[in-house]
């Protein structure tokens, strides 16, 4: 039985790592650093963050890992089995299904351009010709650099990293995020375990049954897990809701920052900000009403 704290810290850690990649990406854009330079910079930042993380882990390990392991008299319940069957079938699907073409998605082209030229946005991703002018709102988004550096570090083909590995990771993180949301909705206590598990089962069923709807999370998580909009919808928004409902403001703020790094919003502050503001306003409004 894994704890709420473990998933929360893991997801926050992933957001921090995304932030480090964003630093490397921005250095590439504004300081003209090459992909190799960005790679070194991100590695150094990650090493520093890793040391900091280890210190935090050493000091708070009891709090983070409390409750891990099987309880005495543990019996696998139906909801848990159904959930794992659904989740594993989705992981298999994401890893093996033919990739659908998503209109407007140029991630693979961009990653291939970065890897071939060794520079960030030195050629137009769609043609390979010299770069014309690219809008800054798009240029500052860091996901292509994240995938490029992963391909570089692991020596993997971009299609494997972008179309298979990342969507699988996003799928797993989606369920962690929804699990956290379920603890906010139904409580983290043992009595509400059934509700939490059935909630996850329903989420998995909705992903399967509503995967044809492009704007619903199911489509993104099963067909386009590498897109910023998918990560926002499936991981960041449920996590932001969890943070807002449980008043863990740092978690919600991290989600807002992560969204700014991966999805363009121009002058809007993003969806996570609306979610946080909405929940806080309604919660406070409810407080005032209850006091009256």
């Amino acid at each position: 039985v894994l704890t709420e704290a473990l998933w929360k810290n893991f997801l926050c850690g992933m957001i921090v790592i995304t932030g480090l990649f964003a630093c490397g990406h921005l250095a590439g854009i504004f300081l003209g650093m090459s992909v190799a330079g960005c790679s070194l910079m991100v590695l150094v930042l990650m090493a520093a963050a890793g040391i900091l993380g280890l210190i935090i882990l050493c000091r708070k390990w009891r709090q983070i890992f409390v409750g891990i392991g099987l309880h005495k008299g543990y019996r696998p319940e139906a909801a848990r089995i159904v959930f794992w069957v659904l989740a594993i079938s989705q992981i298999y699907y994401v890893f093996t299904a033919d990739i659908l073409v998503t209109a407007g998605d140029i991630t693979l082209e961009t990653v291939n351009s970065f890897l071939t030229t060794g520079e960030i946005y030195s050629v137009a991703p769609l043609t390979g010709k010299a770069m014309a002018a690219m809008p800054l709102r798009y240029k500052i988004l860091c996901l292509p650099t994240v995938y490029t550096l992963l391909c570089r570090w692991f020596g993997a083909e971009p299609e494997l990293i972008v179309n298979r590995v990342i969507p699988t990771m996003v799928l797993c993180m989606t369920y962690m995020s929804y699990y956290l949301l379920s603890t906010a909705l139904f409580g983290a206590e043992e009595q509400s375990r059934k509700k939490r598990m059935w909630f996850l089962v329903m989420v998995a069923m909705i992903f399967w049954l509503c995967e044809g709807s492009v704007y619903l999370e199911g489509y993104g998580v099963l067909h386009a897990g590498w897109l910023g909009t998918t990560i926002r919808g499936c991981v960041l928004i449920p996590l932001c809701l969890y943070g807002a409902l449980k008043r863990k403001w740092l978690v919600s703020v991290l989600c807002i920052l992560a969204e700014a790094c991966i999805v363009w919003t121009f002058w809007g502050f993003g969806v996570c900000a609306v979610v946080l503001a909405g929940v806080v306003l309604i919660d406070k409004g409810g407080d005032i009403r209850w006091k009256r």
Binding site: L100, I106, L108, Y178, R232, L241, V275, G278, D283
Partner: protein, 307 residues
């Protein structure tokens, strides 16, 4: 003012289309109202806030004026559908079903004064969950998962074959490639070394947002010509005489080939079925441009190389 009218129309039409395409919005609204009306019963402050947020955001999205404000907030770079990201639809659906099944179906272990045993209660709940899944199945994809079509897969295989050949022959560098759009798209997304005559932003409006590159009339003409002659592949397999006149005219013309070669194109992919029309034209174009041309048969396509 014009922009505001545009947003207003988007909010109105977008919602109508959304309701038609996304039928499960009905159970979302139903569950949301149920969740909201039962909020007083919930002990948890979190649940009150969650359902309160859900009902507020969905109501605001459904009302055209506020829906328009959300559209302005998310900026014109997003389609209407993305505005619904602000409502956590999956969480509302899943949370609503669980609440309904666990709270609204017999919550006490008593029915009609008789004490229910755990198995009976579990069975009733299971039926409730299965009913919810059945409703979602009917309103969702009804078991038909989205898949790449056989044509798409065939184009991918052919593109892969040509890409491998070009890699083996070290033809990728210093080559500007021109061919049917799907093949160009595949080849560029699978090799950073391929340089294309024009990019996907030529035909995919959403990709156009990434680049301020504008295409000349001649390039747009070349694109139209290529799609016409390469799209005629199946047509020529059946009845040559029945081909539309414009396709014959396109095949008879060599202007676009010349324009493309003049703009640096030195590798052209065309279906084998139209090679009888193309051989002479390719040679004429090469003569006009002062270069030589060679052809290689690769599956159902011919790769023409200008040197």
């Amino acid at each position: 003012m014009e922009t505001l009218i545009e947003y207003w129309n988007l909010a109105l039409n977008g919602f109508a289309e959304w309701m038609t395409a996304y039928k499960y919005l009905a159970p979302v609204v139903g569950l949301m109202l149920y969740g909201y009306m039962c909020r007083e019963r919930y002990r948890s402050r979190n649940q009150r806030a969650f359902w309160g947020y859900g009902v507020t955001v969905i109501t605001l999205l459904m009302v055209p004026v506020t829906g328009m404000c959300f559209l302005i907030y998310q900026t014109r770079f997003y389609d209407y559908g993305w505005v619904w990201s602000m409502a956590p639809l999956t969480a509302i659906l899943a949370g609503g079903v669980v609440e309904l099944v666990f709270e609204q179906l017999p919550t006490e272990t008593m029915i009609g004064g008789e004490r229910m045993n755990g198995k009976r209660l579990a069975f009733i709940r299971l039926c409730g969950l299965l009913a919810a899944v059945a409703v979602l199945f009917m309103l969702g994809n009804q078991g038909r998962l989205q898949q790449a079509s056989a044509e798409e897969l065939q184009v991918r295989d052919s593109s892969e074959e040509i890409l491998q050949y070009m890699e083996e022959q070290a033809l990728l560098q210093d080559t500007i490639l021109w061919g049917p759009k799907d093949m160009m798209q595949y080849m560029r997304s699978h090799s950073g070394e391929v340089t294309l005559f024009y990019g996907r932003d030529m035909w995919d409006a959403k990709s156009g947002a990434y680049d301020y590159e504008a295409y000349e009339e001649a390039e747009i003409g070349c694109y139209n010509w290529m799609e016409m002659v390469s799209g005629a592949l199946n047509l020529y397999l059946l009845e040559v005489e029945q081909a539309p006149e414009e396709v014959h005219a396109a095949l008879a013309s060599e202007d676009f080939l010349q324009k493309a070669v003049e703009r640096g194109v030195n590798a052209i992919i065309l279906p084998t079925q139209i090679s009888p029309w193309m051989e002479r034209k390719m040679q004429l174009t090469a003569e006009e441009c002062g270069c030589s041309v060679s052809d290689t048969l690769l599956g159902e396509y011919i790769l023409w190389l200008f040197e």
